[in-house]
């Protein structure tokens, strides 16, 4: 849709509005975190940094953030590997039962997490996997893998098999074909799936309640604990810190890119 100046402006304007909507809650949450009161009220009756000071003295929050990260990253990686394999098989495997296979892969998204937890708990136990991060990473991968599967399937559906066919006809082996033809085409899909998988794990509560122990408390668990009385600005302060941290990461990534090693597209989950 080249041309059409007005249309273009309208499109860009609409996109800007939507992006504003996406960032709007942040503009509520950040001021809430600087409240001088012990309850949430917007706009805050007065300002202070007491909630940040309170958190600075409490190791639970940074520890939980680290735990959430240590669970989210392996979950995303494992989901990308398994989800991509499943997508390749279903889209390129010429299976008679592709629909059935894809139904099995996406089904975990459709089961409420409390039911997953009830079902998984004895299985993890039988397999002796309940200690440490392993069980929760595996459980999160079960629910996050469909996200990768779906995004990679979309990438594989976006272009025909003709390119792969051409490469193979020219004598490229399966691995070379995958590396030089298929992978570049699905890379973005894998990345998007990985980002969404990480986000899913990062905010998952019910499976974490079941499968994390005293040493593996996650951020959603800590927020859940906070809610047993009333809402304090602490949870807003946590959200603000995460926001600031992601801005910092993005800034660093942008700075790195500016120094020449530019890799395009969405790199900045």
């Amino acid at each position: 849709m080249a041309g059409g100046g007005i249309l273009r402006i309208m499109l860009v304007g609409f996109a800007a509005l939507v992006l504003g909507y996406l960032i709007l809650p942040t503009f509520i949450v950040v001021p809430l975190s600087f409240s001088n009161q012990n309850y949430l009220s917007f706009p805050p009756p007065g300002w202070s940094t007491r909630w940040y000071e309170a958190m600075a003295g409490d190791l639970a929050w940074p520890q939980a953030a680290v735990n959430s990260f240590l669970i989210g990253v392996p979950t995303a990686l494992l989901s990308v590997v398994l989800g991509t394999l499943a997508a390749l098989a279903v889209k390129r495997g010429r299976l008679g039962w592709a629909a059935a296979a894809s139904a099995v892969v996406v089904a975990p998204m459709l089961l409420p997490h409390v039911i997953m937890a009830i079902g998984l708990y004895p299985v993890m136990l039988d397999l002796g996997m309940l200690r440490g991060f392993l069980s929760v990473v595996v459980a999160h991968t079960v629910v996050a893998m469909p996200l990768v599967f779906i995004t990679v399937c979309a990438s594989l559906g976006s272009y025909g098999e003709a390119l792969e066919l051409a490469a193979m006809t020219c004598g490229a082996g399966p691995w070379a074909t995958f590396r030089h033809v298929t992978f570049p085409m699905i890379r973005t899909g894998m990345l998007v799936g990985g980002v969404l998988a990480f986000a899913t794990s990062f905010d998952e509560l019910m499976l974490s309640l079941f499968l994390t122990g005293p040493g593996t408390r996650t951020l959603p668990r800590l927020i859940w604990e906070q809610l047993n009385m009333f809402l304090t600005p602490t949870i807003a302060a946590v959200a603000t810190l995460i926001f600031a941290f992601s801005l910092l990461l993005l800034g660093a990534a942008a700075a790195l890119q500016a120094r020449g090693r530019a890799q395009p597209v969405l790199r900045h989950g």
């Binding site: 809430l32 390129r92 779906i150 990438s155 559906g157 976006s158 986000a199």
Partner: protein, 287 residues
């Protein structure tokens, strides 16, 4: 190099590459199908062997109505997300450099904020003395505060906010792969931009649409806290009911039967969707 006939056959169309599914399937068999089997069985044996739990679900209790509410809410959220996300993804797919990075950042950063916190932020926006009512009163558009909570507006705004990245990102991933020369070719051949979009770009973006729709719809089905905080009784979601049965009443038989019912119904919708879109255009998933 003695490449066998077999190897020379493109792997992409080889039946033999079904083994790629082996690792994910083994993984899912152990960590999903096995637990799922236990859950399904429990729906028939707990508290007593038989169809008692299903009789309750299909009786005159609240269950079918809540399952229907859940599907309806998820469908509405999906539709809104698609309409809102498509133009944004279109713009983003054509953006380059710093603009692309800023857009990506604005879409991805909200993902890191807990859904609980975001839902409370929307409460602040929509409540009687909230940001939106202040604005409306200030502009003189209304005389008395509007009651947004609990209600559909809050639920949809809150849920769409959470789900939008799940629609935009797959669309962008797809649209960036669309060969722009095809569009130019169409225009050279005399199609006006609108027609070129409708006949070339839109069909090519169908895999992205399908992926986004699948992601958003299925994720929305499991929604919990946002409808609970922003919505009224008509937004009671199946996940809330199932959680109540599992955690409050310890009635795992009914919880399992409810989850099984939800799974079967939504999986049927999904397979139907695959069939329909699979016939119409390039499929996202399956064939």
């Amino acid at each position: 190099m003695a490449r066998s006939v077999d190897a020379a056959r493109p792997w992409t169309i080889s039946r033999g590459h079904a083994w790629l599914l082996a690792a994910p399937l083994v993984f899912l068999a152990i960590f999903f199908l096995w637990p799922l089997a236990r859950v399904v069985v429990r729906g028939f044996v707990d508290p007593a062997l038989g169809l008692g739990n299903y009789a309750r679900i299909f009786g005159d209790g609240p269950y079918l109505r809540v399952i229907w509410n859940t599907i309806e809410t998820a469908a509405a959220v999906t539709a809104i997300c698609l309409v809102v996300a498509y133009p944004v993804a279109y713009v983003m797919a054509r953006a380059r450099g710093a603009w692309l990075q800023i857009m990506a950042a604005l879409i991805v950063i909200p993902l890191w904020t807990s859904v609980v916190i975001r839902s409370y932020a929307w409460m602040v926006v929509f409540q009687r003395r909230g940001v939106l009512n202040d604005l409306l009163l200030g502009l003189g558009l209304v005389d008395t505060p509007v009651r947004f909570l609990p209600g559909s507006i809050g639920v949809h705004v809150g849920m769409v906010h959470i789900m939008l990245p799940f629609m935009i990102l797959p669309l962008v991933a797809n649209m960036r792969g669309i060969d722009q020369t095809l569009l130019r070719a169409a225009e050279i051949l005399g199609a006006n931009p609108f027609n070129a979009f409708l006949r070339v770009f839109l069909p090519l973006s169908l895999p992205g649409i399908n992926a986004g729709v699948a992601l958003v719809f299925m994720t929305s089905l499991g929604f919990f806290i946002t409808p609970a905080l922003l919505g009224g009784p008509q937004h009671m979601m199946a996940a809330v009911l199932i959680e109540q049965q599992a955690n409050v009443y310890l009635n795992w038989g009914l919880a399992s039967a409810l989850a099984s019912t939800l799974l079967v119904v939504t999986l049927a919708i999904y397979l139907f969707y695959l069939r329909v879109t699979g016939g119409a255009a390039g499929t996202a998933i399956g064939r």
